[in-house]
C-alpha cells in the first residue's frame, strides 16, 4: 500500500520537476517569439549577440547569487563589490601594473570582499540580509573614498584589458565567451561536485548538514567568496567596455541578479535551484530589456513590465 502511495508521489514529483525544469525555458522561447513577431529585427544575429553581451554582466552576478540563495542566504553587496573591485583594478592599471595581473588582483579582491561577507554571516552570526546590507554601503563608501567620487578614466590598460570587455573571438563578443566559461565551471561545481552537494544540503537543512559532518561555515564562506568574485568579474567587463571605472557602477545590480535567480526557479528558502534556470532567468530579463527597447517602449514602462514578469514567474512556480 505504501509502495503504491509513494509511486504516485513519485510520478507527481517527476511531473512537477519537469515543469520546474522546462517552465523558464518555455517562457523564454515564448517571449522571444512574441518580440520577434512584433519586430523582426530582434532575431538578427547582430542584435542577438548584442543581447548576449548585455546579459553577461547580470548573468555573471546572478550565477554567484544562485549559490548564495541555494544556501538560504542573500548577497545584497554585489553591486558595491563590483564597483570597489573595478575601481581598485583601474587604479592599479593606472599605476602601471600589467593588465593580466590587475585582472587577477581584481578577481581576488572580489573574492576577498565576498569572504568578509561570509565570515560576518558564519562567525559573526549576522543574518545574510543585514550583513550584506551593511557591507553594501561600506563597500560603496570605500569606492567613493578611493575614487574621491570621480570616475577613473583613461587608464588604457593595454590590449588584454581592452579585449576583456570589447574584444571578439570568432565573431562572438569576449564577455559572452567569459560568461559561457564561467557558467560551465560553476555548473560543474554546483551540480557535479561535492561542494555543490554541500551547498544544497546547507540550504535544505543546515543543522542536519552540520551534524552529518559538513563544515557548513567553510562552505558558506566560500559561497559568498564565489559571489564576490563573480561580481568582480562582471565589473571588469563593465569597466573594460566603458574604459572607465565609475564609483556608482553596479548600483541596484543585486536586484536584477536576484530577479534572474528567482525567475530561474531557485527557491529563496534555500535548498532548491539550478544554474541553468538562472541563465535562462538572466536571458529573460535581457530579452525584455532589449525587446522593449526595440519596440520603442519607454524605459518607465519597462520597469513595470519587468516587475510583472517576476510576479508571473513566482506565481507559476508556486502553482507547481
Amino acid at each position: 500500500m505504501e509502495a503504491k502511495n509513494t509511486a504516485i508521489i513519485k510520478k507527481k514529483e517527476r511531473r512537477s520537476d519537469l515543469y520546474r525544469k522546462l517552465g523558464p525555458l518555455i517562457a523564454l522561447i515564448v517571449l522571444m517569439a512574441i518580440v520577434t513577431v512584433m519586430n523582426v529585427n530582434f532575431i538578427q544575429p547582430n542584435n542577438l549577440l548584442n543581447l548576449l553581451r548585455q546579459v553577461s554582466v547580470n548573468a555573471l552576478i546572478a550565477f554567484g547569487m544562485t549559490f548564495v540563495i541555494i544556501t538560504g542566504g542573500i548577497d545584497l553587496s554585489v553591486g558595491s563589490t563590483l564597483a570597489l573591485s573595478s575601481a581598485l583594478t583601474a587604479g592599479i592599471i593606472a599605476a602601471g601594473v600589467p593588465s593580466v595581473i590587475a585582472i587577477a588582483a581584481g578577481l581576488l579582491m572580489g573574492a576577498f570582499l565576498g569572504m568578509i561577507n561570509g565570515l560576518l554571516i558564519t562567525k559573526g552570526n549576522v543574518a545574510p540580509f543585514i550583513g550584506t546590507l551593511a557591507t553594501m554601503t561600506i563597500y560603496r563608501g570605500l569606492t567613493l573614498v578611493y575614487t574621491q567620487g570621480n570616475p577613473i578614466t583613461g587608464f588604457g590598460g593595454g590590449f588584454a584589458f581592452q579585449f576583456f570587455g570589447r574584444g571578439y573571438l570568432f565573431g562572438i563578443p569576449f564577455p559572452v565567451i567569459i560568461t559561457t566559461v564561467a557558467f560551465a565551471a560553476l555548473f560543474v561545481i554546483l551540480h557535479k561536485m561535492t561542494f555543490g552537494r554541500k551547498t544544497f544540503a546547507i540550504g535544505g537543512n543546515e543543522q542536519a548538514a552540520y551534524i552529518a559532518g559538513i563544515k557548513s561555515d567553510r562552505v558558506k564562506t566560500m559561497v559568498y567568496a564565489i559571489s564576490g568574485m563573480m561580481a568582480a568579474l562582471s565589473g571588469l567587463i563593465l569597466t573594460s567596455r566603458l574604459n572607465s571605472a565609475q564609483p556608482t557602477a553596479g548600483t541596484a545590480y543585486e536586484l536584477d541578479a536576484i530577479a534572474a535567480v528567482v525567475i530561474g526557479g531557485t527557491s529563496l528558502a534555500g535548498g532548491k535551484g539550478r544554474l541553468v534556470g538562472t541563465l535562462i532567468g538572466a536571458l529573460i530579463i535581457g530579452t525584455l530589456n532589449n525587446g522593449l527597447n526595440l519596440l520603442g517602449i519607454s524605459s518607465f514602462y519597462q520597469q513595470v513590465v519587468r516587475g510583472v514578469v517576476i510576479i508571473i514567474a513566482v506565481l507559476l512556480d508556486r502553482k507547481k
Binding site: 500500500m1 503504491k4 508521489i9 514529483e13 561536485m193 561535492t194 552537494r197 543543522q207 551534524i211 552529518a212
Partner: protein, 493 residues
C-alpha cells in the same frame, strides 16, 4: 456528545487508506485509537473533522447524520483535533494564540483584551492550568503549549477532543499533568480520542481501545478486558513472541573512553567506557542530561572539561565534522530537524556523510553514488519506491532507517542513537532492533539513549542510568529491571 462513524472508506489515488471503518465514541470516555503508522487513524479523524471527505460511509452525531465541511465548522460544533505538530504563533502571547482568528472585538474592530482574558481564565481554572497570558508561546515548554491548545478547544465548548500523539515530546511530569487534565475533561463529559504508540499510557488513561490495521477497525474493547500482548497482536496481525532480538553478551575491546566530561549545568563528571560490539543503554528521566552528554561527545555543543579517548588515544572533537572523521555517527532524537533534509531525495540524505566513497577530488561519480545508496537501502530494507523520492514521503520507521543508513554508509564504528524508535511503529521498531544487533555483532559499538524502559532492557547489554546530569548507576544485563532503573533515575540507591 455521541459520535458514530459507519462504514467509512477513503482512497487517496490508488491508495485505499480506509476500507470500511466503524467507530463509536461515547460521551465522557477516553477512547484510545491504536494502530501502526499508515493504519488509517489520522485519516479517519480527519474525516470526522471535515478535512477530508470520505468516499463512502456516514457520520452520525448524537444519532443524526452530520457532515462537517471543514475543520473550522467541526470546531465550532465542538469537535476539535489537536495535531501532533501543533500550529502556534511562537512570538505572539498565549492569549493571542488562544483567540487567534476569533478575537473578541467591539464594533470598531478594537480588540477586547480584558474580556478575552476573563474567558481564558475561566477555561484555565476549569483545567487547573497556571500559565500567564502575557508570555509568548515560544517561552513555553511543548507540554505547556499543548495545554494551551487544549484550553483553546474548550473556548469553543469542545465536546470531542482528538489528541494525536500528545505525549511524544512531553516530560514525565508534563504527561501526568496532561492526564490529570484529561480526567478533568472526562468529568465534563467530553469525549477524548487518544492516539498514541505508547502502550503504558493507553492502559493508564483510556476506557476503551480500538485497534486499526490496514484501514480496517480490528476490534473495540474495554481497556480492562484487553492486555498489551493482545493489542500488539492485533496491531501487527501476528504474534510478536521474540519482540526483542536474542542478544549475545560478547564484547570486544574498549573503543571509546570518556573521562570526567563536564558541561555545567547540564552534566558533570561523566565517565564511562564503551566496548566494540556492545549496546550500551542510557536511561534516565527526560531532562536528566543524556542527550546533552551525547551532543557534547559528538561536538555539537562541546563540553567544557574532561577528555575522550578513542582506542586508547586522546582525541579532540570540536565539531561534528571531527566526530564523523573519527568514525562516530549520531542519530539525533529529532530526525525531522536534525537528522534529515526532508525535501531532499532518499539518495541525497544517505550519501551526505560519505562523499569520499564515490567522488574523486570533489567530482561525484553519480553512478557509483547510486549503487552505494541502493546497496544501503537494500541492506536496511528501507521501503521506498525509489531513491529519488523525497524522504518526507516515507513513514517514520523508514525515515529512521534512512538516518541509520547514512551513518552506516559513513562507516561509523561508534553509533550514538538517541531515541532511535521514537515515532516508529511496532513492526519497524523490531527491524531497527535487529539491525542494531547485527551491527553490534559486526563490531560496531552502540550507545542507545532511550526513554522506553522495555526497550532499554530488551536491547542493551549494559545500562547506565543518568540522574540530574550525573551517572547514578550501572546495571548489567542480568540485573537490570524496571524498578532498578527507575530507582536510580529518580535519585535512589
Amino acid at each position: 456528545m455521541q459520535v458514530e462513524l459507519k462504514g467509512i472508506t477513503k482512497a487517496f489515488g490508488a491508495n485505499q487508506v480506509l476500507k470500511g471503518v466503524d467507530l463509536k465514541l461515547e460521551a465522557g470516555e477516553v477512547h484510545a485509537l491504536m494502530g501502526e503508522n499508515g493504519a488509517g487513524k489520522s485519516t479517519l479523524m480527519n474525516i470526522l473533522t471535515g478535512l477530508h471527505k470520505q468516499d463512502d460511509g456516514l457520520v452520525y452525531i448524537n444519532g443524526e447524520q452530520k457532515q462537517y465541511e471543514n475543520p473550522k465548522e467541526a470546531e465550532e460544533n465542538g469537535v476539535s483535533f489537536i495535531h501532533q505538530e501543533m500550529i502556534t504563533w511562537p512570538d505572539m502571547t498565549v492569549l493571542e494564540n488562544m483567540f487567534m482568528g476569533k478575537e473578541k472585538k467591539n464594533k470598531f474592530g478594537w480588540v477586547l483584551t480584558k474580556e478575552m482574558k476573563q474567558e481564558g481564565e475561566r477555561v484555565f481554572k476549569e483545567l487547573g492550568i497556571d500559565i500567564s497570558f502575557d508570555r509568548t508561546m515560544r517561552t513555553l515548554s511543548v507540554g505547556q503549549q499543548q495545554l494551551v491548545e487544549i484550553a483553546k478547544t474548550l473556548l469553543n465548548d469542545a465536546e470531542v477532543i482528538i489528541m494525536d500523539e500528545p505525549t511524544a515530546a512531553l516530560t514525565d511530569r508534563e504527561i501526568q499533568l496532561l492526564f490529570k487534565i484529561i480526567r478533568q475533561l472526562q468529568k465534563k463529559n467530553v469525549v477524548v480520542v487518544y492516539i498514541s504508540h505508547r502502550m503504558e499510557e493507553i492502559f493508564e488513561i483510556s476506557n476503551r481501545v480500538t485497534v486499526m490495521r490496514d484501514g480496517v477497525s480490528i476490534s473495540t474493547k474495554a481497556t480492562e478486558d484487553t492486555d498489551y500482548d493482545e493489542i500488539v497482536r492485533q496491531m501487527v496481525g501476528r504474534d510478536l513472541e521474540d519482540y526483542y532480538p536474542e542478544m549475545t553478551n560478547e564484547k570486544g575491546d574498549v573503543v571509546l573512553e570518556v573521562n570526567n566530561l563536564s558541561h555545567l549545568p547540564h552534566y558533570e563528571n561523566i565517565s564511562f567506557k564503551l566496548h566494540s560490539g556492545e549496546i550500551l543503554g542510557f536511561s534516565g528521566l527526560m531532562g536528566a542530561g543524556r542527550t546533552e552528554i551525547m551532543r557534547g561527545i559528538f561536538g555539537i555543543d562541546p563540553f567544557e572539561e574532561g577528555d575522550i579517548l578513542l582506542d586508547g588515544e586522546k582525541i579532540t572533537i570540536k565539531t561534528p565534522h571531527d566526530a564523523v572523521k573519527k568514525g562516530i555517527g549520531f542519530l539525533t532524537e529529532n530526525r525531522k530537524e536534525e537528522g534529515l533534509i526532508l525535501d531532499f531525495p532518499v539518495k541525497d540524505n544517505i550519501s551526505i556523510t560519505a562523499f569520499e566513497e564515490f567522488s574523486n577530488n570533489g567530482w561525484i561519480d553519480t553512478k557509483e553514488e547510486k549503487e552505494f545508496v541502493e546497496l544501503l537501502v537494500k541492506r536496511l530494507t528501507v521501503k521506498t519506491a525509489g531513491i529519488d523520492l523525497p524522504v518526507s514521503a516515507l513513514s517514520g520507521g523508514n525515515q529512521q532507517k534512512v538516518v541509520l543508513a547514512k551513518w552506516i554508509g559513513a562507516g561509523s564504528r561508534i553509533l550514538i542513537l538517541d531515541e532511535p524508535t521514537r515515532g516508529v511503529d511496532v513492526g519497524a521498531k523490531r527491524e531497527i532492533y535487529n539491525l542494531m544487533k547485527e551491527l553490534a555483532e559486526r563490531g560496531v559499538a552502540i550507545i542507545m539513549v532511550s526513554s522506553d524502559l522495555p526497550e532499554v532492557m530488551g536491547v542493551s547489554n549494559r545500562v547506565l542510568v543518568v540522574h540530574e546530569g550525573a551517572i547514578s548507576g550501572e546495571l548489567q544485563r542480568d540485573d537490570v529491571s524496571e524498578e532498578r532503573i527507575m530507582t536510580l533515575a529518580t535519585g535512589g540507591k
